[in-house]
Symmetry: C2
Subunit: 350 residues, 2 copies
């Protein structure tokens, strides 16, 4: 644990800079001056690409690697060809910095509008593998744009890659309610599915206290709406994790609240923390975005870096703010606040 | 349109035989003796495998091909190794009979218990590609069960395969509300995604009346719970279709109502109709299963074979039964009926 935190900040596009500003406010408040934060801001994303044609120059990637952690707002804009920033920036960081744990907690806060009639007690974490599967960028196309085109995408899964994320998930389950659900589709994806399954069985033998369950991904999407309280820790591959965490965001009242960490548990490279939501260009610059997802991502970052007390301060301030929202809704006067007003309210509680 | 229908019936396992019996009752009632039905029952599924070790002998596949259509209940049992019946029977039929359209309508019937607070007016159809993608069985594993294992799954997409299903979806949209949503993940699966996208753009130019929309699969899982009424026709690949149709089943009150057709629109091989649900061994033989999904699958079959009037008879009988259920729920006295009582009630309405 350093008493000087070197933080790489990528505010990005759209609402990114607005929510990151609030995340940084919360960070400074939570650290109470005990730790100095050296922030380096990196101008990456759609705006940079339009201006310079660059996505992530190697030199900047190297600079980013010198930091203890990365805080990212959101990148992307419909004006860019699809895939440029996703593959060239977001996934490049996740892969090059070996973020093999994509950690995405889901929690339902009382009073938050949800499409479910009875959300119940939703409190689970998805441990999404972050460096393999269909995200490996392994695929191609021949005879493009002819009637004979063939396009492939290859899901790559290794014993090494699966075991390390499964082990992380079991460790997390031990610190939570000791229930782990593997989600895959091993009746169709027999090769990858059986690797995941065998790995969970083998590693699970070392964690006799953890109850293990299995669901096919299609069934998991059902249970997320019919019985989300059944989940504690879900471990799954990169694509299934992407799908399930967006659905999880929807049932808990919108991805505007959902935090995430792209974590390299070994510490060999900095981990990256970002809200699950995108850049939402339609509301950019209007102070309409909810910064809670980013602020909660900062709490995940503090936990990862070992600043547990500071993390707990943010977590309880967020809980407090969510309680205040619920009370206001129940009193018939829902709070209407700007992005920075929400940030200020959280800081006041910290 | 033959006046003699050769029907291959695969009752299968678990609740399969019970729901198929009701489907056949509805079929005979709807045809009113105008068409004779030659039924051949095929004993395939878990029970057969346990008894003989066989999944689908070539000779039986050849016999099945001689029929006009196939009605399948459900196959599968937890006592079998995963993948045996899925790859060897269900997917084998879909692939060998070139069922490139997997048609899955979703409709919300008033009064049906749904996890959504306000389901709204849900009425859409998923056109799921059935013969390519990650279901192609194209993958493998090396160094199995060692720390150096690598397991791959390859999604195979061809211009030929994508275009034919996209064209079907546009034709269907023209007969419905003329709105089509492509679901994919082209920001990550750039090769396959761009093939799908380009194909929808190109074919769409021939259908200027159809409004085309695009959603990433993760966003689609959100809209299915927050705004399912926005969908009319969804076209998507094999795996995304599998995931979205189960979620669609959940929001409309359970896959016990969801019908499906595995269709070869050219007629070169018989198409196969089956409820989306599985064999549910826990309630097998107890007359507890709802046969509506199977009966509605029979209606899809009749439409496919050109017996539109008979299909309409079943459709309105099902609507009538669903209305009666809703009325009973509203009157505070929900109907409690056995599988065959529901079948009889539908037949009475036909
Ligand atoms: C933007 C995209 C590449 C990304 C993903 O698919 O992982 C996003 O959906 C997410 O979940 O973080
Ligand atoms: C049983 C399985 C192979 C099948 C699929 O994945 O297609 C099922 O989930 C379905 O949706 O019909």
């Amino acid at each position: 644990m350093t008493h000087n935190m070197k933080l790489a900040v990528i505010p990005g596009d759209g609402i990114g800079p607005e929510v990151v500003a609030e995340g940084l406010k919360a960070l400074h408040a939570a650290l109470r001056g005990d730790v100095t934060v050296d922030e380096t801001h990196f101008d990456l994303g759609a705006a940079r690409w339009h201006r310079t044609g660059e996505v992530l120059p190697e030199s900047e990637l190297e600079q980013i690697k010198e930091h203890d952690a990365i805080l990212l707002g959101a990148v992307g804009d419909p004006s860019l060809p699809s895939g440029i920033l996703e593959r060239g920036l977001l996934l490049k960081l996740r892969f090059d910095l070996d973020h093999y744990v994509n950690l995405r907690p889901s929690k339902y806060y009382r009073g938050v509008p949800t499409p479910l009639a009875d959300p119940g007690d939703i409190d689970f974490v998805v441990v999404r593998e972050g460096t393999e599967g269909l995200y490996a960028g392994n695929g191609g196309a021949v005879r493009v744009d002819t009637p004979h085109e063939i396009a492939t995408e290859v899901s790559v899964n290794t014993a090494y890659g699966v075991e390390r994320v499964v082990r992380y998930a079991f460790d997390l389950a031990m610190r939570r309610d000791q229930r782990l659900t593997l989600v895959h589709k091993h009746n169709v994806l027999v090769n990858a599915g059986h690797l995941w399954r065998r790995t969970v069985d083998r590693v699970g033998a070392e964690y006799p206290d953890v109850t293990v369950d299995y669901l096919h991904v299609d069934a998991a999407t059902i249970f997320l709406v019919t019985d989300p309280a059944r989940f504690d820790v879900i471990v799954t591959d990169n694509l299934f994790g992407d799908i399930l965490t967006d659905e999880a965001g929807a049932i808990t009242g919108g991805i505007g609240l959902a935090a995430s960490g792209n974590i390299n548990p070994t510490g060999a490279f900095p981990s990256m923390f970002e809200p699950v939501h995108g850049s939402a260009p339609d509301i950019a610059g209007q102070q309409k975005a909810d910064p809670i997802a980013t602020i909660s991502s900062v709490a995940l970052m503090l936990r990862h870096l070992g600043y547990d007390e500071a993390a707990a301060r943010i977590e309880s301030a967020v809980d407090g703010d969510m309680e205040a929202r619920a009370d206001a809704v129940e009193a018939g006067a829902p709070l209407v606040r700007s992005t920075s007003e929400i940030g200020d309210a959280v800081v006041a509680r910290i």
